[in-house]
């Protein structure tokens, strides 16, 4: 069986944040996520894509790539930009840290809280790649049951 994937490329326009989270949610629906888990995925994607729009390309819109994949019953989301990059990732991850005065500095905190796993790679002036993974709680239980019956 070919396991499924979906690769997207779109410009960093604010109206695409909603599109990106809807696509991630629809793709995720292939796994047995609960509605609450799908909500968490929507928030995480919204945060990551919003960061590309605001921080990576503050001047004019640039390219965002979002790759969605199913790997061993895990949802894997990779979001990449070719923008400004992050100087100090540990600092960026701290709650309430933001380089923009009007923002809450909670995006990376939400991404870490709502996904099972989150990793960031970034190079100043080259861009940033965020990889997030999530496993359906229910799905793992069901997989067990269906094997037994």
């Amino acid at each position: 069986m070919t396991s499924n994937y979906l690769k997207l490329r779109f410009p960093s326009l604010p109206e695409n944040v909603g599109l990106a989270r809807m696509m991630a949610a629809s793709f995720a629906a292939q796994l047995e996520f609960t509605l609450a888990e799908i909500e968490e995925i929507r928030v995480a994607v919204s945060e990551a894509v919003s960061n590309c729009v605001i921080h990576a390309y503050p001047g004019k819109p640039g390219l965002i790539q979002m790759n969605l994949a199913i790997k061993n019953n895990n949802l894997v989301i990779k979001i990449r930009d070719y923008g400004k990059g992050i100087n100090d990732i540990e600092q960026a991850k701290q709650a309430t840290f933001s380089t923009e005065p009007e923002r809450m500095g909670l995006g990376l905190v939400f991404m870490e809280s709502f996904m099972d796993d989150m990793g960031i790679e970034s190079q100043p002036e080259k861009g940033t790649t965020v990889v997030m993974k999530k496993h359906p709680e229910r799905g793992s239980a069901n997989a067990g049951l269906s094997r037994i019956s």
């Binding site: 944040v17 909603g18 909500e39 945060e47 729009v53 939400f110």
Partner: protein, 111 residues
Amino acid sequence: MRIETERIGGTLFIQINGELDLHTSPMFKETVEEKLAQYDFIKHLVIDFTNVEFIDSSGLGVILGRFKHMTQRGGRLSAINVSAPLRKVFELSGLLRIMGIYDDRRQAMGN
């Protein structure tokens, strides 16, 4: 997103319909700030979350901004009808602790 406002005396009720994110939050901010500038006797902002289908940190940011503004002008901000999924991000963000969260209009007005 669509916003409805209703002013009763010094209270401004705001109903948000749809998703509050990076794209839509500037419109929310503008609508509220316009009303606050127009009526300087508004001292209580009551935001109804019944029809909010989504909120992220950009959305929470403009709520916090309005909270700060109301505090500055000696007023307050209340949230009503906050569903369970929204409550989680409210809690994680700390907004749950600082804002008044009530079940409905009546409760918000009573406090």
